[in-house]
């Protein structure tokens, strides 16, 4: 059991702060659930995942008070049979998702007739969004089909998630050489398609300070927190006071909870909420308010 005997005792243990927070709110009944915008199903090609079976992942997410999880499919990284990948994902979420998992299929705009995959995601599988993996699907955001894809997805009211990294490139299997990726083209694309709803996942290694400023000030892009690193990073990013890396402040409204499970422990993203001295309103925003608002309009 993740968390072991320590976690087993948690439910039965009186919290250190009693039943009140510092601002005297009752814990009971006022604990918001979490919307996880970044989980993955099926097989990671390079290692068996501890929570790789959907039902065990759902149980794990539930233990950490995740109420909804937006799920992609690891098989999207290498499969050419996109519709098969998306169909299996939708079915898995329906059958084993426990009412928690929300499927986010994929589309590869560099491959023929991607429009049909997009249509099926929307009309056949009733997905609220799609997830793109440019570094594995071998296109960059300068590809001429990208504006068309974002435009068509937006016309359908779909969320578009774009993944920066899946794994630290320093420890890739040597057979894997993923593509370089720049998010820079998104600034102009988003200006031309202002109603597009785009979220970046695992983005942190690929966004400079200058780009982050533009993404925040010139687009409506939102960001997940799964790859956010450094001590107290979440609070310090909101304040624009990071130890190193991008200094641009990121309004809390732009930050959505994402765990990157089952590759990363679910605990990582949960602890980020507590490591920084966030207010209750800030915590709620990241935990579910922002994601709920983002998907509501779909």
């Amino acid at each position: 059991m993740s968390g072991g005997s320590l976690a087993a005792g948690i439910a039965a243990t009186l919290p250190a702060l009693g039943n009140k927070t510092h601002d005297n709110n009752d814990f009971t009944g006022s604990n918001p659930g979490i919307i996880d915008t970044n989980v993955n199903l099926f097989k990671w090609p390079f290692r068996r995942m501890k929570y790789g079976e959907t039902r065990s992942l759902v149980a794990k997410l539930r233990k950490h008070r995740i109420t909804k999880a937006w799920a992609g499919n690891f098989e999207a990284l290498f499969s050419k049979s996109i519709n098969d990948v998306n169909g299996r994902l939708a079915e898995e979420c329906r059958v084993n998702g426990g009412g928690m998992l929300v499927p986010f299929g994929t589309v590869n705009p560099a491959w023929p007739d991607w429009e049909e995959d997009l249509r099926r995601c929307h009309e056949v599988y009733r997905m609220p969004g799609i997830r793109l993996y440019p570094t594995y699907q071998t296109f960059d955001l300068n590809h001429p089909e990208i504006p068309r894809l974002i435009s068509q997805a937006s016309e359908r009211g779909l969320i578009i998630q774009i993944v920066g990294d899946m794994e630290d490139s320093r420890v890739h299997h040597p057979i894997v050489l993923t593509r370089e990726l720049s998010f820079d083209p998104l600034v102009e694309i988003m200006k031309n398609i202002p109603k597009a709803k785009v979220q970046l996942l695992c983005w942190n290694e690929r966004v400079s300070n200058e780009l982050l400023k533009k993404l925040i000030s010139e687009t409506s892009i939102v960001l997940d927190i799964s790859w956010l690193e450094s001590t107290g990073a979440l609070g310090r990013m909101i304040e624009g006071n990071r130890w190193s890396g991008p200094e641009a402040p990121v309004p809390v409204e732009r930050l959505l909870f994402g765990s990157h499970a089952p590759l990363f422990p679910v605990e990582t993203a949960v602890i980020k909420l507590f490591e920084s001295p966030l207010t209750l309103e800030q915590m709620k925003a990241v935990m579910n308010v922002n994601a709920g608002r983002f998907i509501k309009h779909v």
């Binding site: 059991m1 968390g3 008070r65 040597p174 602890i271 207010t279």
Partner: protein, 289 residues
């Protein structure tokens, strides 16, 4: 908000609250608070307190970042902090096997006759790694002092053809370098830092050498990684570090909290193993354990 205030109860979300973290008696063997100067250290201590960490061990004492043998402009302040705060902060100095005599002299100043407890190998500017014969007098002196030996190690993929470790930086040890050194000194405990970066291969490299402890710190978190290391090496051979401020406590704590461990094994990894392995040194130096 002070370091003990939380807007929500962590335990409700399936993670330890502050008291439960304190009860784990967590010692971080990998603290970089001083690397950014005294102001950074002071800011870092807020998070150390908030996350219930009992003690941190700084790896940046007594030198500038670029050169292990060039004194830091804040040496005096660091020395004073270490002498006055043994209950909270310990210090390790960097050495350079390219210069064994100078390294040993530094160890005499900072460990035998100073507040520090051990040594660290990082990236050596002349490209000599820990496995080089130049290390022998350094390791012999560390053994005499009973001092921890921390070795930064990474297996970065790269090179032509691509291979694990083929992308390493000059003077950067791999876990295989650690293994070579450990084989020469089977009775001297040492730490394979960063779990070798690639923990699946790193654990295999040092597995036969029971004097090597395997450290989780300073890498992205992978679910199942600590389970794997415990299965291959045993819980008695794992140590833990926070690597702040470069990494988050969230990242590093979660590696161990994710693992399916008994409370007792979790305590070993979070500090018990470190306290046990170098218990004599701590007694000799009057460091509370």
């Amino acid at each position: 908000m002070n370091s003990t205030e939380f807007a929500l109860n962590p335990a409700y979300y399936g993670i330890p609250d502050q008291q439960q973290l304190k009860d784990l008696r967590i010692w971080s063997d990998h603290y970089h608070g001083f690397a950014g100067g005294l102001k950074q250290h002071k800011e870092m201590m807020f998070y150390v307190e908030r996350m219930g960490i009992e003690k941190v061990i700084s790896l940046d004492i007594g030198s500038i970042e670029e050169d292990a043998l060039v004194p830091s402009p804040i040496d005096n302040e660091e020395r004073e902090i270490l002498e006055k705060n043994k209950n909270k902060i310990l210090g390790i100095i960097r050495i350079d096997p390219g210069f064994p005599n100078e390294s040993c002299a530094k160890m005499e100043r900072w460990i035998r006759n100073g507040p520090c407890i051990g040594i660290k190998y990082l990236l050596q500017k002349d490209g000599i790694t820990c496995s080089h014969p130049n290390s022998d007098p350094i390791v012999r002196l560390a053994a005499e002092l009973g001092a921890p030996i921390y070795i930064h190690s990474w297996l970065k993929v790269g090179g032509t053809p691509r291979s694990p470790g083929g992308g390493r930086s000059p003077g950067e040890a791999t876990p295989m370098d650690v293994a070579v050194l450990a084989k020469r000194f089977p009775n001297v405990p040492m730490i394979c830092g960063h779990s070798g970066g690639d923990w699946e291969l790193g654990a295999r490299a040092i597995r036969p050498y029971e004097n090597v402890l395997f450290e989780f710190a300073g890498s992205y978190p992978h679910s199942g990684s600590v389970d794997y290391a415990v299965n291959e090496l045993g819980a008695d051979r794992i140590v833990w570090g926070d690597h702040g401020p470069g990494r988050s406590f969230a990242t590093e704590l979660s590696k161990v909290l994710d693992a399916s461990l008994s409370h007792s094994d979790r305590m070993k990894i979070f500090g018990g193993n470190y306290r046990r392995t170098w218990a004599k040194l701590f007694r000799d130096k009057g460091i509370p354990t």
